[in-house]
Symmetry: C2
Subunit: 301 residues, 2 copies
């Protein structure tokens, strides 16, 4: 048995968040901090913001990008969309009904401008405070959620998928969603369930092999059950942090979130970047299955 | 040629709102008043409410039902839903994906309690003021829009359908939507485009025969085009009149409206009643096709 195999077994032994194993959903207590640093006066967020993130699992920062930055990213995103329409690349995910572009992945690798954005010092300082370490991009994408036909993203914990399908061991990652258009409560905005990040919903059902292409269009595995969703929403409510283009939502890897469809004429594009702690590097997927491709789950820290 | 046939031809000659005829969408000016009465101090709404309805095309009345009435209707609606799940009646429309009950039609005929509600004196006085005549129920239904899986209703003018498919000659009808649950901006509430009721979007494409069963699940004909929708929303914005259970939205037959999907655990049931003026009785459908059944479009005033 190779050293590599032994190490993999050891890593898998400490699966503290088993999911898609049992026939009934289970609730497990979170084993990891939400804010991994101790706040002090030189922290890049206020005490109130840090406490809000700890309790609610997200942080909304209006006007994070200035107008010049915003225009620049909007133009790049449009260019990328035009290119993506004509492309056969597997980085591109289309809407479940129809062929309009839903998401383009790995934008921090393929476009220098988004690579630069991912290293923005203001953003990084907050991310590194919350995760208390250096980080790397686990996943990046633009979601286009077009007007008229934008479909819903059903409720899910990102961590549940990243753990089971990508082998992310612990809850020491977060997502940043940067609005490229004004967000309204009626054009399918991000909905989060405050407080839901403090428990882990172990989902039901085994994952089929290579299902990830379908799951990025429409999620069918790693889906939380109705009873737990109902209870979580009763306890925490639903928040829809919406604001002008250039605002940013930072949210914990385990917060329950989703979005409704968008029949309005207003598209709801956003840049989506996931930061993972370099202390939390990926192991073999906990499902025991083949890992997803690197444009979905970067395996190099 | 029978007298009946001559009369039908004459009625059809004055089609002032032709739709689903041309290959390009057309905009026609509204030929009918919005508020058909002159306001005076004994009118059942304030001058401000009357003017708001005239300009915006809808009126939102919070707390229209008292708690006792509300509980009564909620219970009746739940009973009806349980019965409907087991029923094969064509009054029952199911969700486009799956078999959950989406709507039950003709509730004012099949359930005495809803018959009584449709004749509520406070409601009728407002309806008769706005339409300046006696009225009758053109259509009634409960929409269940279940939690987790409630699908969208795409943008449409009700009048466009009632004119083309049911033979409603003029814009002298309105809808009342009574909320049976608290409505939130995130559980797929009614969205209206204020001001859109003042123009008629003549839609593209001929209607297939007997398509109504599909259209009640998912609308594909009588659908306004993207360019006109975008312009209307730019001009009028989008309003989402939401409030507590027991609130009511009264809206003009020609206002552009729709709703997004509902992945939240909160269902969004509402009672929906359409009043038409007795001066505006149905003629043969302007499509020249067979009229829809009477549980969808009541042909007896």
């Amino acid at each position: 048995m190779s050293n590599n195999h032994i190490s993999t077994l050891q890593e898998k032994k400490v699966d503290v968040y088993p999911s898609r194993i049992h026939s009934e959903p289970r609730i497990l207590k979170r084993q990891d901090p939400v804010v991994h640093s101790e706040w002090n006066t030189s922290s890049p967020v206020t005490k109130e913001q840090s406490d809000f993130y700890e309790q609610h699992g997200y942080l909304f920062l209006e006007g994070f990008l200035n107008q010049e930055e915003l225009k620049h990213y909007q133009k790049e995103a449009r260019d990328l969309q035009v290119t993506a329409r004509q492309s056969e690349s597997n980085h591109i995910i289309r809407e479940p009904e129809g062929s309009e572009v839903r998401s383009v992945f790995a934008i921090h690798e393929t476009r220098p401008v988004f690579q630069k954005l991912s290293q923005d010092s203001k953003l990084l300082s907050i991310v590194e405070y919350l995760l208390a370490s250096k980080t790397y991009i686990h996943q990046s994408r633009i979601n286009y959620k077009p007007g008229f036909t934008g479909k819903e993203f059903y409720w899910h914990s990102d961590f549940e998928t990243w753990h089971v399908e990508d082998g992310m061991p612990r809850m020491r990652a977060l997502s940043c969603s940067i609005a490229l258009e004004d967000n309204f409560h009626f054009n399918g905005p991000l909905m989060v369930v405050p407080g839901s990040h403090k428990e882990f919903v172990a989902c039901v059902g085994k994952t089929p092999d290579n299902h990830f292409k379908d799951s990025l269009r429409k999620q069918e595995y790693g889906v939380p059950d109705h009873d737990n969703l109902t209870r979580m929403v009763k306890e925490g409510g639903i928040d829809t942090p919406v604001g002008k283009a250039g605002s940013i939502v930072i949210f914990d890897c385990n917060i329950m979130h989703g979005s409704n469809s968008n029949i309005t004429p207003m598209p709801r594009s956003n840049i989506f970047m996931v930061y993972n702690s370099i202390e939390n590097k990926l192991v073999q997927p906990y499902s025991g299955q083949q890992a997803r491709p690197s444009y979905i789950a970067n395996r190099e820290t």
